[in-house]
């Protein structure tokens, strides 16, 4: 199974390099050599795009997985906890207050807002007396809705509604060399998550149990929150909002191999990357030569899979 994911990733990755309006084919590459148009396009657009897609897919899956361990609930991800909406509000704030700020700074502010969002969510969820499995994401979605309404209101008042819609919509269409490198930060976070994987497994067993095992519960939770917020912000800055990904991928992995975080991290990363890559290729080809936003495709497929997870026989949600 793991081999299958790997093979698919390599095949689709190569395909992704050669899909596009201009002719970039192996033949054209051989003909033009290293300074032909094809080679330039490959280096400036196709390779960055494919790398960004892979990193975003992998890191969003990981963000979902970590969040699920922190909250101990299978149905949360940055998009169902208000984290994404908080980060979007942060982006709006930077656009309004410091329009000339570098992308790095914007990302930092967005990550800080995302961190606040994670914290608010964890507080609110603690106030939910009965930890009902489905109530937690519900509260998160509502929280996101409220923050989203605030963002939309200010954007509307400041005539930024259209541009807000434009950059918060998930798409890789504008990725080019020099404009996507921030997404590597999300990749670094994946490695951090991998190193701390066992701790997150233990966190998933509950605070008392984790403390009993000699773990500094608060510190691990803090690391997890930072990882989630930074990944969310990095993805938001480069690609926009991509719904349901962090939820669907870890759930499918947990159906296949269970809940050990150290074992599932490579799976989640691989499957997440594969999922986004496949969706991105569909988004690029279905209305060729135009593109459809990736978030639309992911929304359809992801929502379908989520519904299946919720309503299938033997689902824990019942």
């Amino acid at each position: 199974m793991g081999v299958l994911i790997g093979v698919c990733l390599v095949l689709l990755g190569i395909a992704s390099l050669f899909i596009g309006v201009s002719d970039v084919s192996p033949a054209a590459l051989l003909e033009g050599g290293t300074d032909g148009t094809a080679a330039f396009l490959l280096a400036a657009s196709r390779v960055p795009r494919t790398v960004a897609v892979l990193l975003v897919g992998a890191s969003l899956g990981i963000a979902g997985l970590i969040l699920q361990m922190l909250v101990r609930n299978k149905f949360v991800e940055p998009g169902t906890t208000g984290v994404t909406e908080f980060a979007t509000l942060g982006m709006l704030v930077t656009i309004v207050l410091w329009p000339g700020m570098a992308v790095m700074g914007k990302m930092g502010v967005a990550a800080a807002f995302g961190l606040v969002g994670t914290w608010v969510f964890l507080r609110v969820v603690r106030a939910v007396p009965v930890r009902q499995l489905v109530l937690v994401p519900l509260v998160g979605i509502m929280l996101g809705g409220i923050v989203g309404a605030v963002t939309a209101f200010f954007a509307y008042r400041l005539d930024l509604l259209q541009s807000l819609g434009q950059w918060s919509q998930g798409s890789f269409a504008t990725i080019m060399a020099g404009r996507y490198e921030y997404v590597w930060i999300a990749g670094v976070m994946v490695i951090v998550a991998w190193i701390a994987a066992d701790r997150f497994s233990v966190i998933g067993l509950g605070e008392e149990f984790a403390t009993n095992l000699g773990l500094d519960y608060r510190r691990v939770v803090a690391i997890g929150m930072v990882v989630v917020a930074v990944i969310t912000a990095a993805v938001l800055v480069t690609a926009g909002m991509i719904p349901f990904l962090g939820l669907v991928v870890p759930n499918i992995v947990s159906l296949i191999i269970g809940d050990n975080v150290r074992r599932s991290i490579p799976w989640v990363a691989g499957l997440g990357a594969l999922f986004v890559l496949a969706c991105d290729i569909v988004a690029r080809t279905v209305r060729f030569p135009y593109e459809i936003p990736l978030s639309v495709i992911v929304g359809i497929v992801g929502a379908g899979l989520f519904l299946w997870l919720l309503l299938r026989k033997g689902s824990r949600a019942h």
């Binding site: 939910v128 509260v139 809705g145 409220i146 209101f153 209305r287 936003p293 495709i297 019942h318």
Partner: protein, 343 residues
């Protein structure tokens, strides 16, 4: 779910010497009096909206503003009635048609029609028939979908809520995808005919939706007592001789018609029905539908008119009413869900 204890609908026998205060209190306990107060409030608000702050010719202002008021009334009736009926059918007070994705579904249906027929057919066809076809498709599918979801074994309310929200995203994504696949011309036609705004409603559309909503209300009238019985739960209702399955199907159909009407007029407002219906239950003080249904509709008018007045005249931004409703509704919803979770 929560069934109200029977509130005092008939007034208690009055004491021999009634002080003015207790007489007031006993009058307040009567749903009819409460409803009357609400009607007065609506009339007063409408008068203020229509006749004050007229910048130019009164006649012109009246013409435009009265269309807005009529549109608000139609929307409020549609949302109020559909939400209360939906609550009764599904035996809860948190799910509403729009939270379950009904209006996203309506948008999907109208997009699909343009998608497969193309704008030329759309423009050449008689708009009335076309709109009716649209509503008919919507009713057929939603009755199918929601009897499947709510019929059969009972699922937890929270699960259904989550399913509804995800369904909404699913429908919206599908709609957006289809809109992206449309010709720019077709897309233009879709946005032109499909959706109008509350402050500038299309008159034909307003007339159509108005007629549909009135028809829906007439269809609900003979079912008022059946609705009261349905609040007791399915087993009791069946025991009392209600043909449960058929009644539920009919009510779902009415709900979908109402939702189609309101969505066509103003587009989706997610939490409006939730606020209106829940306030109506506590305001009416009874579970009987002959009182709760009109109360919900009237409260809806109060919110829309009052909100528009406040935003337009006091704060000077008229267009953002739905965002404010969304914000307040989200907070209210969170409160409701968390409070229910505590029980």
């Amino acid at each position: 779910m929560r069934t109200d204890t029977v509130a005092p609908t008939a007034s208690a026998p009055e004491p021999a010497v009634a002080s003015p205060r207790s007489r007031l209190a006993s009058a307040w306990a009567r749903p009819g009096v409460r409803l009357g107060l609400l009607v007065t409030l609506v009339l007063a608000l409408a008068a203020v909206y229509l006749f004050t702050a007229v910048p130019g010719s009164l006649e012109y202002a009246l013409k435009i503003r009265s269309t807005t008021v009529v549109a608000m009334v139609v929307v409020a009736i549609a949302v109020g009635v559909s939400t209360v009926v939906f609550h009764t059918i599904t035996q809860n007070r948190i799910l509403t048609p729009s939270i379950m994705g009904f209006d996203a579904f309506y948008m999907l249906v109208s997009t699909v029609i343009v998608f497969f027929l193309g704008a030329t057919t759309f423009l050449r066809a008689d708009p009335v028939t076309l709109w009716l076809v649209q509503v008919a498709i919507m009713v057929a599918f939603s009755v199918f979908l929601f009897t499947w979801l709510f019929g059969g074994k009972r699922r937890s309310i929270h699960l259904m809520l989550l399913v509804g929200i995800v369904l909404g995203t699913f429908f919206r994504s599908l709609t957006e995808w289809m809109q992206r696949m449309l010709d720019p011309l077709d897309f233009q036609v879709l946005t032109d005919t499909g959706f109008a705004s509350l402050t500038r409603p299309d008159e034909t559309l307003l007339l159509l939706t108005g007629v549909l909503v009135v028809l829906g209300c007439i269809a609900v009238l003979p079912l008022l007592r059946t609705l009261d019985v349905l609040t007791l739960g399915e087993p009791v209702a069946v025991g009392l001789g209600v043909n449960h399955r058929r009644v539920i199907m009919a009510l779902f159909a009415i709900v979908s018609v109402m939702v189609a009407a309101s969505t066509a007029l103003v587009g989706p407002i997610l939490f409006f029905g939730l606020i209106v219906a829940n306030l109506a239950y506590s305001y009416a003080g009874t579970f009987r539908h002959r009182w709760t249904l009109p109360t919900a509709a009237l409260l809806g008018v109060v919110f829309l008119l009052g909100g528009q007045l406040l935003l337009e005249r006091l704060f000077g931004f008229g267009g953002s009413l739905s965002m404010v409703i969304e914000f307040a509704g989200g907070l209210f919803f969170l409160y409701l869900v968390l409070r229910k979770g505590a029980r």
